[in-house]
Amino acid sequence: MSEEDDDIILSELDDDELVQQMFDDLYDGLKEEIEEGVNILLERGWSPYDILTKALVGGMTIVGNDFRDGILFVPEVLLAANAMKGGMAILKPLLVETGAPRVGRMVIGTVKGDIHDIGKNLVAMMMEGAGFEVTDLGINNSVEKYVEALKTEQPDILGMSALLTTTMPYMKVVIDTMKEMGIRDDYIVLVGGAPLNEEFGKAIGADAYCRDAAVAVETAKKFVARKHNQGVTG
């Protein structure tokens, strides 16, 4: 933050320095600088997938860790995610064009009766920040809506969120329905929300309870890697 840093010219940095600078710029939520950085790396012949995973996801991992550790809070994370989004808007069409490998896919929504979505939105943003494709079902989702989305989106992960102690039991309804349909084990089921805890996650048959958005990302990565190693298709 000293004065000589005020005139950093991104295009004059070498690749390693530029990626480090992009980590910093994501941390500071500087959207225009991230867009510029992405464009420079593209011009230098970087593949869209490398830019995503090495520069953007790498930077968001630092943001996520500091959020998890109580160093950054929601406002900073929202700004960082917004900067990330700027970079992703450039990369997304190119990723499709180049047939880049997918990190993973998630369907997420708050459960029936629950209209509180700040936590769910944070998870969706951080998951996108980690390179996942996220389908956001919004608030107040019935079991039918979740099941329908599982069919159409074919995600690796189903994420359910609840803020109310009165709505969190509905997560079990969804999981029980998936069991009855014989599709429970086709998906990784992650649950979260202020009143939940690990014990509750286990009790209802979820794969994991995620304390916050950063933990959700870590957990998602871990489970997806495990799933891929088992050779199970999503």
């Binding site: 500071d28 109580g70 809070f73 209209i115 009165t166 209802i204």
Partner: protein
């Protein structure tokens, strides 16, 4: 002319607030996700019963059933055009119950968060927030609320917008925030920061403090953080009755009435003047709290260890007010 709450405070060195609204209404049959505010008009007897729980347990004030009564929340139920009406009736029912009690009971018009994130991170502008809070404030005022009671706020911007709206309505007010993330609000505000913000407001609240959050222990750590700032303004402590647990298909708060009685006395020893509960605090908890506050002597300010020993441990090692906080990554922010 001083307001009824300020007059009451002149004679008393502690006041008992109320307990849970949502938890009690759910027990009366409110469906998950249904807006409680509609019951002001559709089920007024149940709302009177809710208010009487607090009055019968000895509370000096209770909050109206209007927490989600702003346009942004009601819009989710397509009831945004009923803000004025639902808030007015919430306060009218409260006035009725309070006036029939035969003693001074304050009707505090509950105002909760909009649920939206304010600019620049979100889309809610300061002007829209003020307008929404003002509309709600006018309804509560019209219904006869003695004071307005802002609660469960996370963002300092939203707290300030509500304060501005309450000035427009010409109403005295109290306002609490919810400290649920590593001892801070979701938006990162510490207890110490809140005191600074409150004291800078052009129309500061009669009292300020914390509600909801994690458990009773965390809430008292926040109260100690307020008290450490050394200002004279009365402090509010409204903690949850423990932590919600999932028991055989139902949610149960693990704080017993006896534990909440202990919490109430500790809250007063920590420096709180207004002591109440939040989620999970039922009439039986309030009774024990009132009994404890009425019969037990004041003690010295408890240490964090003493709080943990009596009420259980904290959800995070620190709360952002000490010197041993983890530091932000040093970045090279450009101008």
């Amino acid at each position: 002319m001083t307001d009824a709450l300020t007059r009451l405070l002149a004679d008393r060195d502690w006041l008992m607030a109320d307990g849970a609204t949502g938890t009690n209404l759910f027990n009366m049959g409110l469906g998950a996700g249904d807006p409680p505010e509609l019951w002001n008009v559709d089920e007024p007897d149940k709302i009177r019963t809710l208010y009487s729980y607090a009055v019968n347990a000895g509370s000096d004030l209770f909050l109206t059933n209007s927490f989600g009564g702003n346009a942004s929340r009601l819009k989710l139920h397509d009831a945004q055009h009923r803000v004025r009406e639902l808030n007015r009736v919430a306060a009218e029912l409260g006035r009725e119950v309070a006036d029939a009690s035969g003693r001074t009971v304050i009707v505090a018009g509950s105002v909760g968060p909009t649920g939206d994130i304010m600019v620049p991170m979100g889309s809610l502008t300061h002007e829209s927030a003020v307008e929404m809070f003002h509309e709600q404030a006018e309804g509560l005022k019209e219904g006869g609320a003695d004071v307005l009671w802002l609660e469960t706020i996370s963002a300092p911007e939203e707290y300030r917008a509500a304060a501005e709206a309450f000035a427009l309505a010409g109403m005295p007010w109290c306002g609490t925030m919810s400290f649920d993330t590593a001892g801070r609000t979701m938006m990162g505000m510490t207890s110490a920061d809140m005191v600074k913000m409150v004291e800078k407001l052009p129309n500061p609240p009669i009292a300020y403090g914390a509600n909801c959050g994690v458990g009773a222990s965390d809430l008292l750590r926040t109260v100690l953080g307020f008290a450490a700032q050394g200002t004279e303004r009365p402090i509010i402590s409204k903690g949850n009755a423990g932590i919600p647990k999932y028991v055989e298909g139902h949610i149960h708060y693990d704080g017993t009435p006896e534990l909440m009685g202990e919490y109430a006395v500790l809250a007063r020893d920590c420096g709180a003047t207004f002591i109440g509960g939040c989620c999970g605090t039922m009439p039986e908890h309030l009774e024990k709290m009132h009994e404890a506050l009425s019969t037990r002597p004041r003690g010295p300010r408890p240490t964090l260890d003493e709080i943990a020993e009596k009420l259980g441990g904290f959800s995070s090692a620190t709360d952002g007010t000490g010197d041993e906080e983890p530091a932000r990554r040093r970045t090279r922010r450009r101008g």
